[in-house]
Symmetry: C2
Subunit: 170 residues, 2 copies
DNA sequence: GTTCCCCATGTGATTTTATAACATTCGTCT
DNA sequence: AGACGAATGTTATAAAATCACATGGGGAAC
């Protein structure tokens, strides 16, 4: 029995607003499968499992946390197993890396090209993805001025999420 | 003789445009000294040296690269020596950390409050700082919508700098 | 259908980055 | 002088990431 267990019980997942998490996991997996099929990519068992783990947890996870889950499920237990699967998923846009945290999180808007931006709560560690169609303002204007060609962007804000601001004031 | 040696000879420093590097090093050190004096901060010899090293190199350096330079100059040779000095400099805005590279770079606009943004060339490893007064567009609007309070931002673009685009086309 | 090759996986070892914990020194205030 | 707090030095360890090489499976070429 290795398919999606609820896992909802633990921590406090979600972006900043609640939603139907179980269906969002299976929908995202289907989207990934369809995308791979259409583009000649191989969503192998390890890769699929890593994506599933990240979708279920619905928060940023370190590579070693993913690896632990993987090995519990019967996959290899050495770092390259996790890193290689993560590389594949990041390269193809199913997962994003949060540079600030050395951690990974499932994409909230799979399938569409986007420059992801993240809001990271220092208090509860929740990470919300705010996708933007284009590279962000100041950066793109600076790039245009200097003639720099942007290939990838890392846009992350650290701060306090609405729920934790609430708590502070209580 | 441990004061600023030229070091200009090596690699290819600078933002993307050349400038009077030697004077920019000493100016920045003076600015830092003045700021610390005015704010009751202690720019101790190690801290000053680390800042000087980063200013001289004028590129992103890993903590261990800084540490090596430090120990050559007669300071401690263990990681905490470098990390602590770097923490101080980052906290007080004299140095920025490039999350994407796990590296540090001297601030190009010391003294003024700013949300730094960086352009990192994959080809020659040059890093240019494009300071912005306010948190970048997409991020700040997303934060406002959701009620997220931004405390710090990481904004980095990876790509190709003008000089390297030039080379490609040659 | 077999052979070959590429790609993915598994594993062991190592490198790189960062922090914990504790002793020592130095300046300052009293 | 004595007491305190901040900064430094040192030992050790933790966390994150990569290297190098062996194995296996699935298609394409023949």
């Amino acid at each position: 029995m290795t398919t999606h267990a609820p896992s909802e019980a633990a921590g406090k997942p979600q972006g900043f607003a609640p939603h139907d998490h179980k269906s969002c996991v299976s929908t995202a997996l289907q989207t990934a499968e369809a995308y791979c099929a259409a583009n000649g990519l191989r969503l192998t068992p390890v890769r699929r499992k890593v994506l599933e783990i990240l979708l279920q947890e619905h928060k940023a996870m370190g590579a070693y946390a993913v690896l632990e889950r993987l090995s519990e499920e019967g996959y290899g237990s050495q770092p390259p197993v996790a890193y290689r699967a993560l590389d594949f998923l990041v390269t193809n846009g199913f997962v994003h890396k949060i540079a600030r945290l050395n951690a990974f999180i499932a994409c909230a808007h799979p399938g569409s090209e986007h420059a992801p931006a993240f809001m990271i709560c220092r208090s509860c560690d929740t990470v919300a993805e705010a996708s933007t169609a284009l590279p962000s303002g100041a950066l793109s204007s600076a790039a245009q001025e200097t003639g720099f060609r942007i290939e990838q962007t890392v846009i992350e804000a650290e701060g306090t999420c609405p729920a934790c601001i609430e708590k502070e004031n209580a």
